[in-house]
Symmetry: C2
Subunit: 492 residues, 2 copies
């Protein structure tokens, strides 16, 4: 067997282990009995260590070097696979085992400290742990290596090729537009839940399933379950499962949760199945993944034409919704209101939460912000962005789990997802004749086919910005999202 | 590390893989999307081959030899573990790889041929495949080695220590008593389903859960799901799941299914958790396992005192049951009627189905019966045992999957389970003061504690017959079951 074929075999084996772990994790979130958590952790850690050993073995490095010496045509299947295997191999082997162990031990303690500190709304209890996490993250960036900012090295784990210097001006443009927009909209927004009612879970499930099917989600290769934290996961080339959660007074929580996760699921269902387990059969990045979920959730689902089409069906499934006409429902699901918690934010304010975190993370990693100053910085900047005052650290700087996990560099992928979604929809509108009519008629196949062709089928063949450029004519920009939000939410 | 400790570590690792396979199999039976079957088979076959390699590696043989040379006290933990590791190691290594491959290939083809043949009720289509299976099973017995009958070597895979010479007289005694009993009872049994009604699945689930909880099943270390073929499975030391199926016109299908699987689950939940992954943390045999399921299902559940205690609660959960008073329900769940299909058989006729198969299997493996004569032999013996004429091979000789899987030697463990259950209940009645009163009051703890003490906590410390002798004073007998059935079902 030639070295390339050996790599294919090896990573298909690694994928057997990883997809098995994904099943165990899915089960842990959905159905695991309470007392079984401890042994499940043993099973997962065993499988993870086997996968790690197989993918970081020295022969993998030798096969990669042999492939790189041989060289492959740029448009071959081999070239992108070898590129990403090398990228991941370097990420996994540049960190000494002792460093990885220290990082994991620190994060485990930080996570516990964070839980307690958040509960008590007391940043001081988390501060020494976060200081260690930031210090180790800086070391990690140094071990990975970088050109301009150490933060680039951290982002690269989640979004290959992303850099501070590329994102800064784009994010600045977005911030300025969003602050204006939020000020203009939110002054007149009433409090309360405009669509509150009585929506039994079984009724919500019937409607959600109808919508997921309409979007093109294949239930013969997937399913919906219930979890505290909704997610999408891939357990095999034909097994993309999604989850949601329910509030019987607010149907939209599960509905938009399902539309979001369906977006992730459609992407995974559209990846080349024969390449499952290799980079060409994998999603391009978190920022591209999130573009798919946001596109279906917000551009398609949180629109007037969606409710014009589905209001009658929704009332059939959810009888209590009859009290609200389509116009009221549309205003309800498009409500914009500054709030403290990122995961509960509306479509307009959401990115402001991310931009705040991005600036702080870059400051921390570049050594321009000290951990001890975080609460003050958070609260001051939050007030400037949202016009409301953070009452305590629980709903402020302590709200997210990410830093306690050591996942610095992850947050910007959420906003990249939003930017990419708007940019893709803009291009799809001009590429697909009659797209608005088909969406208004509940015909989602043309849009899905376009995404399959432009994004899904390529897997990880192109870096995120190249993939966007091929699909839309330009790398990720801010202007399409700004235009979209102004058109949808602008009062002028 | 000493060789014994190496074996412990190795088999705990093997158990991580096997319990992971169990999760994947559980998911396959409960929730797997249709299109995901193929890749799931890849995952399972990968995990199985890893577990096989780890448990049959030559160093395992070396460690075993070292332990055997060292020797351990008979009542130590080491002695039974080493004994069973050696037993399983020999079973797994005595068959050459080429033989195993041929066996698996033959069985795979036989399974497909069996499905078609059963569908068409045409034994001729299955005959050449079964001939190969029998031929290979004889070879397997020769490779394993045996003293008296080659069938002993095959049974030993499922029931360590079981032999034809031990079982033959016991089974003959049972057969003679059962034939008389069935003739005496069944002449007056009306046709039809005496308890048919309208029992929605959700109502059945509520009652089943109440009963499983009352029996002592721990839902914090288990759960109930729905599958076509009910089963119990262990996914970890604190994760014993059970499944059932529902018929909305017959509540007793799911109820007695749950009581049966709860019996298996209680056994697994009562094994020593600290020994999970070693023989001492494993069930003694299939015949002991089945004794636990049959005991709870039939001795406890299919009794008059059960319905005297639970009828009111059952009607509360299953309102349509109000049409039947306790006496009618008791007669309904104790209905005895000769029928063609083993898995649908009542408590009295069930073992006749097994005895027929046992005699045929022994004849096939000892070379006294030819495969081509099977339909005639089956139909003739069936008529003699049950007094009814088999209309076709689909409900006759072709009904079971076991032979197509090459699982010769498995069937007798079902009847061993029934014999053991009666023998254990007989002893429990004299050991536990007031057992009948506590059962009549729905207090199952004394019985469960007795089983925990006599059976569960020992894991695989003793061979099945030794375990029975320690628990009841004698190895497995027929007479307790005969007494039990005569007392419960005898008309005289």
């Amino acid at each position: 067997m030639d070295p390339y074929q050996k790599l294919v075999e090896r990573f298909k084996e690694v994928q057997l282990l990883r997809s098995t772990s994904a099943i165990l994790e899915w089960d842990e979130q959905t159905y695991l009995p309470k007392k079984a958590v401890h042994y499940r952790a043993d099973q997962l850690s065993y499988l993870a260590s086997k996968a790690h050993l197989l993918s970081t073995a020295s022969e993998v490095g030798d096969w990669l070097t042999a492939c790189e010496r041989a060289g492959y045509a740029e448009d071959s299947d081999e070239a992108p696979n070898v590129y990403h295997w090398r990228h991941d191999y370097d990420l996994a082997t540049k960190l000494p085992v002792t460093f990885v162990e220290e990082f994991e031990r620190t994060a485990a303690l930080a996570r516990e400290a964070w839980k307690e500190a958040r509960q008590a709304a007391n940043f001081a209890g988390f501060q020494p742990h976060l200081e260690k996490v930031i210090d180790l993250s800086k070391q990690k960036a140094d071990l990975f290596g970088y050109k301009a900012s150490p933060y680039d090295a951290l982002m690269d784990q989640f979004e290959p090729g992303a850099t501070v210097s590329y994102l800064k001006p784009i994010f600045a443009e977005l911030k300025s537009a969003l602050v204006d927009l939020v000020q203009a909209i939110s002054s007149g927004t009433p409090d309360g839940e405009p669509l509150a009612g009585n929506y039994p879970i079984a009724e919500q499930q019937t409607f959600n399933r109808q919508i997921a099917t309409a979007l093109g989600y294949d239930f013969d290769g997937g399913r919906i379950d219930t979890t505290t934290h909704p997610f999408a996961t891939s357990l095999g080339p034909n097994d993309q499962r999604i989850t949601t959660r329910y509030d019987e007074t607010l149907f939209q929580m599960s509905l938009y949760g399902i539309m979001h996760e369906t977006g992730h699921g459609l992407y995974e269902q559209g990846l080349p199945k024969e390449a499952f387990g290799t980079p060409l059969g994998s999603a391009a990045s978190l920022g591209i993944h999130e573009s798919q979920s946001r596109l279906w959730e917000n551009h398609v689902g949180r629109s007037a034409s969606f409710w014009d089409r589905w209001h009658t069906d929704a009332v059939r499934c959810l009888p209590d919704l009859h009290r609200f006409d389509p116009g009221t429902v549309i205003r309800g699901v498009q409500q914009v209101r500054p709030s403290f918690i990122r995961v509960e934010a509306d479509e307009v304010t959401y990115d402001l939460h991310i931009l705040l975190r991005f600036e702080i993370e870059v400051g921390l990693i570049e050594g321009k912000i000290a951990v001890r100053d975080l609460p003050a910085i958070w609260n001051e900047r939050f007030a400037a962005l949202f016009g409301i005052k953070v009452p305590n650290d629980r709903v402020g700087v302590l709200q997210d789990i990410h830093w306690s996990l050591g996942a610095l560099g992850y947050f910007p992928t959420y906003t990249l997802g939003n930017l990419n979604a708007a940019q893709l929809m803009n291009r799809a509108s001009s590429d697909i004749a009659g797209l608005n009519d088909s969406l208004a008629g509940g015909e989602y196949r043309p849009l899905l086919d376009w995404l399959r062709n432009k994004i899904h089928r390529h897997g990880r063949r192109y870096l995120p910005n190249d993939l966007m450029a091929r699909a839309t004519g330009a790398p990720t920009q801010a202007k399409y999202r700004i235009e979209y939000l102004r058109e949808k939410y602008g009062r002028s």
